[in-house]
């Protein structure tokens, strides 16, 4: 029988998606610990996640600097001793600053946990931010910032965030002078208030044995005490700017960075899954309309995409790309054209069913290993949602109609209120 190569093989829709739920352990000091156990590999990832403290515009860098400098010394260990001990056991120590939370992460072979955990305990409970290390940190950060500010996409992102989030922790784009506001005493105080059990969530994923739990309880259990001042993790409301258009001219630019969008809803809003589908159609995957038009038809760019971010105090919808400087205006026009089509013409059923399958496959594929299951939990837990969010999400993806996609576009892509940032030529 001749092989029929022009017709696609039969395929199956993605069925039930099973998420691994954690076991919760109470540490008796307000710190919540969640465990995702899977014994395939002899390794474990432990994340200590802390809510950022309320933003102080006069000292804007405290949250990020305290987090980044946790590896730089405790009263017992120097920065170099910390690095030596972690590296010697083949472990990885990361600090990660995010808009709402800051975290400290340890990746280690389970058998080396007993050797690496004491270092983590020291960092999290007893960091001292030595003056000399602070001076080095400031100088090196200032140098790196100078390089970043030469990148059009970075400048565009900073301008955009400032415009839609205002003078808040989300809108912060550090300037060289901001580093002058960093002082050791403030950092120590910030550290004491933020890095305490009642403001901490621990996520453990990987091969978890009884001895793993015993070690964790011993280090971060009842002997780890809260400080007298409760962590103030409240944040002021977002204040979008009045100006909606920002153009930073770079006369020698070969490409212009474009970033446009507006404040939007976050994951807690019932429309969020629907919005995600609309986003995918517009610019959320390789076959999206923005990619199909602006890259694959016009060849204006190497890549273009849209996305929605979900933060505690709100969200944002945005489109970002870098395009040939000579076609920047045309690219903006095409972006607006695609948004307009989404608002006025129903998405054909064929395209919508493709997006449905793509999104379900993508969700399934994102559950690669036990770490991914912990990541999925983080998304809902810190938004105050339960696992039914994922049930609702898959239900929406499976059943959403073209009319609903159009409603989302009309409701959330109000182009008259778009913030538009161009860095390069226009």
């Amino acid at each position: 029988m001749k092989l029929e190569r022009t017709i696609a093989p039969e395929f199956k829709a993605v069925g039930q998606i099973e998420l691994i739920k954690p076991e919760q352990i109470d540490l008796g000091n307000g710190c919540k610990m969640f465990c995702f156990n899977s014994g395939d590999q002899d390794l474990v990832r432990i994340e200590w996640i802390f809510g950022n403290l309320r933003f102080d515009p006069a000292k804007p860098l405290l949250n990020v600097a305290v987090n980044t400098m946790l590896t730089e010394g405790t009263s017992k260990l120097s920065a170099s001793q910390i690095a030596d001990q972690i590296d010697f056991y083949g472990a990885f120590l990361q600090v990660d600053y995010g808009y709402d939370h800051s975290q400290v992460v340890l990746y280690t072979l389970t058998r080396h946990l007993a050797a690496t955990l004491p270092v983590m305990k020291d960092i999290i409970t007893d960091s001292v931010f030595p003056e000399k290390e602070l001076a080095t940190f400031i100088r090196n950060q200032q140098q790196k910032l100078q390089v970043s500010l030469q990148k059009n996409d970075v400048v565009a992102r900073r301008k955009f965030n400032k415009a839609i989030y205002g003078d808040t922790i989300y809108g912060l784009g550090a300037e060289l002078d901001d580093y002058k506001t960093l002082h050791r005493e403030d950092m120590l105080e910030h550290f004491k208030q933020m890095y305490q059990p009642s403001n901490c969530t621990i996520l453990v994923s990987g091969k978890i044995e009884q001895s793993t739990l015993d070690l964790l309880k011993e280090s971060f259990g009842k002997d780890w005490c809260n400080s007298s001042i409760k962590a103030d993790t409240s944040q002021p409301d977002l204040k979008p700017a009045a100006d909606h258009f920002y153009f930073v001219e770079k006369p020698e630019a070969l490409q212009s960075a474009i970033r446009m969008g507006l404040p939007s809803i976050n994951r807690t809003h019932p429309d969020f899954p629907c919005l995600q589908v609309m986003n995918t159609v517009l610019g959320g995957y390789f076959g999206s309309r923005l990619m199909a038009n602006i890259r694959e038809d016009k060849g204006y760019t190497y890549g273009i995409g849209s996305g929605s971010s979900s933060l505690n105090k709100g969200g944002a919808f945005f489109i970002a790309t870098e395009v040939g400087a000579d076609v920047c205006k045309s690219a903006v026009n095409e972006i607006e054209k695609e948004i307009n089509i989404l608002k006025t013409v129903l998405v054909p059923e064929d395209e919508l069913s493709l997006v449905r399958n793509y999104m379900l496959g993508s969700l399934l594929g994102s559950l690669e290993n036990i770490f991914s299951h912990a990541d999925k939990f983080k998304n809902i837990y810190f938004s105050g949602l339960g696992y039914d969010y994922y049930d609702r999400y898959t239900e929406v993806v499976k059943s959403i109609t073209s009319v609903e996609v159009m409603q989302m576009a009309k409701k959330y892509l109000d182009t008259d209120n778009f913030y538009k940032v161009i860095v390069g030529k226009y």
């Binding site: 010697f88 390089v147 390789f286």
Partner: protein, 411 residues
């Protein structure tokens, strides 16, 4: 330990199957044994441009991405100086779609004019975005030709210049396909929730009928031994000075490779590494400094790169780097420090087994090196390296006459 089964089709296509029933997903990874090193010096950037064209439709399937997305799959590809690698991840129940798509484009492309025209533009924008419109973005366009005078590693995968991409013609595209894209020049890895039986049956069905094509025999000009130090200084619109010192080092399969790789870890991996501790923290000469090797298949490049602080002269910065290199040449690495970098290599290997796609790509690459099983002996190769061997390799690599220094001066 990554287990696998292996078979070869009559047309020469090598197939490896890694069964992993713990995931609902599957991957199909195809490595083509062609990279930028196989290009004509007057048509550089072609292997990479060609990679883009592989997504422009094949002989029986007008659209590559669309049917894959429809079954919940995703794909991507990358080109290096040595190889071109394509991969698909999708729900395992739809694995046949991956076989269908990949076999059709191995059979023949559609060679659409529109696709060539558009992808030329897309690649030119990629050239601008990654190499020209970024501070220090053009470093590889300058450093490679300084280090390599004969070997085709002298150009980056993106190509020497935009004009080479603009000039690409359909007849060149067709000739490139014929020469490199056939079963004999490819290695396929199927991984995830599939059985070897199933993979065998699907491989026979979809790839079996593809003509074997001609085997490409690589015969590249070899790089002569460098005999004098090279140096280039450029003044550029960058905010900070930057120092690059590149050395020739053993290729991926040559003796001495593992030593060289561990040397880069000793010098620069993590905050406990020598260059970071000494030059960033103690002596306060650099804001950042890195040492790495490119993992090239032929004789490769060992690069030390650092941005000196504003009050530090280029001469002082270079001297400080050389001082560290002299130490590793003259003194045996202490036992604890050697254990440290070996432990890191070992745990990195365990962590990489968390990813199905990483496992598939690694199997393909080691099969290209002669035997996929080598992947499972990789850690042992690192563990066997001695302090004496490290010293000997450091002495061979870190010689002035083996160095090419590129200085960026902030305008």
């Amino acid at each position: 330990m990554v287990k696998f089964n292996r078979f070869t089709l009559d047309n020469g296509l090598r197939v490896i199957v890694h069964e992993d029933p713990t995931t609902p997903m599957a991957v199909l990874n195809i490595l083509y044994d062609v990279g930028a090193r196989d290009e004509d010096p007057d048509q550089t950037g072609f292997a990479h441009l060609f990679e883009h064209l592989m997504f422009g439709g094949s002989i029986n399937i007008p659209q590559y991405d669309e049917p894959l997305q429809r079954v919940g799959g995703e794909n991507n590809a990358f080109t290096t100086n040595d190889i071109t690698n394509y991969y698909i991840t999708l729900p395992a129940s739809n694995i046949e779609t991956a076989f269908w798509l990949e076999s059709d484009r191995m059979l023949s492309l559609a060679f659409s004019k529109k696709s060539l025209e558009v992808q030329r533009n897309v690649v030119i924008e990629e050239f601008k975005q990654r190499y020209l419109n970024q501070p220090y973005g053009d470093v590889w366009l300058k450093l490679r030709p300084l280090v390599y005078k004969k070997h085709p590693y002298q150009w980056a995968t993106i190509g020497k210049e935009i004009k080479h991409i603009e000039d690409a013609r359909m007849e060149d595209v067709k000739a490139f396909f014929k020469k490199h894209y056939n079963p004999q020049n490819a290695i396929m890895v199927v991984g995830g929730n599939v059985t070897t039986e199933q993979a065998k049956q699907l491989a026979e069905k979809w790839f079996g009928p593809i003509p074997a094509g001609e085997k490409y025999h690589r015969n590249l000009p070899q790089e002569p031994t460098q005999i004098e130090a090279r140096r280039q200084t450029v003044t550029a619109k960058v905010p900070l000075n930057d120092v690059y010192i590149a050395f020739h080092m053993p290729g991926r399969l040559d003796n001495g490779y593992y030593e060289a790789d561990l040397i880069s870890d000793i010098l620069s991996r993590g905050n406990s590494s020598r260059l970071y501790k000494t030059l960033v923290k103690d002596k306060q000469l650099f804001s950042e400094i890195h040492a790495y090797n490119m993992g090239s298949f032929d004789r490769g490049m060992f690069v030390v790169e650092g941005k000196p602080l504003e009050n530090v002269s280029i001469e002082a910065a270079e001297a400080a780097i050389w001082e560290e290199l002299e130490i590793i040449k003259q003194q045996l690495v202490p036992a604890d420090e050697l254990t440290k970098v070996k432990n890191k290599t070992e745990s990195t290997m365990v962590f990489s087994e968390m990813s199905l796609l990483d496992k598939a790509m690694n199997l393909a690459q080691f099969e290209l090196f002669g035997d996929a099983e080598k992947l499972n002996h990789e850690t042992d190769k690192y563990l066997a390296v001695t302090a004496e061997q490290i010293q000997k390799q450091a002495q061979e690599i870190f010689r002035k006459e083996n160095s090419s220094t590129l200085i960026y001066l902030a305008a």
